[in-house]
Amino acid sequence: MDTDTTSFRPRPVIPGDTVPIPIATPNPSAESSAPPPVRIGPGLHRRPDGSVVVVKAGVLCCNEAKDGARWWVESNFKRYVPVQGDPVVGQITYKSADFFRVEIGAAHQAQLSALAFEGATKRNRPPLEVGSLVYARVSVAHRDMEPELECVDQTTGRAEGFGELKGGFMIKCSLGMARNLLLPKFPLLPTLGTRFPFETAVGVNGRVWISAATEPRIAAVARCVVLADRRPWGQVKGVVEGVVGSVEGV
């Protein structure tokens, strides 16, 4: 199997495949002669004996960066597994004195502290109700603990766009689609943006919140995301044209 990064072509893999990536054991004494480090990302698992095995079905990808090669499996699923730092859209299902419980589409509901908001204090609590939507970042994702969310950057104390999502509409899509929407070169949102202004909050848990001036515009954006899901990139523009052309008053 070819794992030379320069001539590597992405190829499909299934769980159980081994990827013979040469991972050097860190050796501080021979710094200069050691090969550059290799980073492995989602879908790959390093066994105790050092071999790398695929744990998700998808396309094995590789990227040669300055600080070493990166390997990961590009896949598309519907079930979200929380990862620290992920932006997610969730729905409040329970409210108590000092925390909220948020449904984010994972196996367990996440906890959101009432203090994890911009400017929140013991007295000044965020005005969230059961059924409200929030845009938050996963702050704790551990396999033995409930996931935890935050709506504030702990280092700066700023919301940075996170917080309650007022009005609008939320749709569910595949995780791959949600990740695509966050890519600047994915044509869907830019193409729609040339037609009319709208606002989105994309959660990598496969939920997209959309807001615009009128209902038909929101519905048009939602329909575009649903129809473009699991389609090749080349067809996305056509889907957008078709949907926008069919809606009156957009």
Binding site: F169, M170, E215, P216, A219, V243, S246
Partner: protein, 337 residues
């Protein structure tokens, strides 16, 4: 597992969009989602998709003893199964409300309106009758399972052929499909269900609701109509008050929509039977060992019937066949059984 109800933003958006004359998926209030009906390859097997809602119906028949009160009546039974695969709201093993609702509505639609002639299912009075069972399986749910289940059940019943029987004295012989052409059920009329969701305290009505719209509804009305524009059953649940003119408007819309569904059903039925007929002809062309009688029953196509009588005879064995076609026939045969 209980599903989280939609957020307040989603509910408000659904109502506001319908008020503005549009729907979340950009349909009109009385538009149906894309309907696809695929039948076969087995007789009495239908796979119906309504948008992303998917239902599979399968019909099978067995010979049983009739009830003493009705010695000449066969049986028509409906069983519904909603697996957790369709939606997390269903739990395996326990009967959900949806499941009960679907099977009760199917029974009312088909049995009480006498859509299938059950007297025709009698073999020996008081001794042997056919029991026709329709298994309806919900595979994927995005709202309006009732309509999809009804279309699937109707399609499966129309596509189904039961084995032919002959009665000589006391002896009843059930002929295999190879021996004699199987017989279609005698269908009086085909009822089709059309469901409307009632939203906003009876102010708004939408046809063929999605899951999200169902979560926002305060009730629903189902009309079962046949191709003669007769109402076979009406079910109204949820308890929402509805003005008479709204109900009449729904009935009118239901008439047109059920006629459209009816047309689609007849078309796919015809396609399926023609496809089956082509397969049978191929089978016959290749039958060295034994003549395979066409198993498509009384096809109402004159030219086909003539051909079919020809192929009833054993075929000459000195036919030369292109190996590629042979491969294809083998494939078809494995598909057929």
């Amino acid at each position: 597992m209980r599903e989280t109800p939609p957020s307040s933003a989603e509910k408000a958006f659904v109502l506001n969009t319908i008020r503005s004359g549009l729907r979340v998926d950009l349909r009109g209030a009385y538009d149906l989602r894309k309907l696809s009906i695929s039948l076969g390859p087995a007789l009495g097997h239908a796979d119906v998709r309504l948008g992303t809602t998917r239902v599979i119906a399968h019909v099978h028949a067995e010979v049983v003893r009739p009830q003493d009160s009705d010695p000449n009546e066969g049986f028509l039974r409906f069983t519904t199964e909603c697996s957790p695969m369709a939606s997390p709201r269903f739990e395996s093993g326990s009967l959900s409300d949806e499941e009960v609702l679907i099977s009760r509505l199917l029974e009312r639609t088909f049995r009480r309106s006498r859509a299938i002639d059950t007297e025709n299912l009698c073999i020996v009075s008081g001794e042997k009758v056919w029991a026709i069972s329709v298994d309806v399986r919900l595979i994927d749910l995005d709202g309006n399972a009732v309509d999809a289940a009804c279309i699937a059940a109707a399609a499966a019943l129309l596509h189904f052929r039961r084995p032919d029987v002959t009665v000589v004295g006391d002896e009843v012989k059930v002929h295999s499909l190879d021996e004699r052409n199987p017989v279609p059920l005698s269908v009086h009329h085909v009822p089709i269900c059309v469901t409307f969701a009632i939203l906003d305290e009876g102010q708004l009505m939408v046809l063929d609701p999605t899951s999200l719209e169902e979560d926002c509804r305060c009730g629903d009305v189902t009309f079962s109509m046949n191709a003669h524009r007769e109402v076979c059953a009406v079910a109204k649940s949820g308890g929402a008050a509805l003005p008479i003119d709204a109900l009449l408007r729904c009935a009118k819309v239901a008439t047109w929509r059920s006629l459209e569904i009816h047309e689609a059903l007849q078309k796919s039925l015809k396609d399926s039977l023609l496809k089956r007929w082509e397969d049978v002809k191929l089978n016959c062309a290749w039958s060295f060992r034994r003549p395979i009688a066409p198993s498509i029953g009384n096809l109402n196509l004159n030219h086909s019937v003539e051909e079919h009588e020809e192929t009833d005879r054993p075929y000459k064995s000195n036919v030369s066949i292109n190996p590629n076609i042979m491969q294809y026939i083998l494939h078809l045969q494995s598909y057929d059984h």
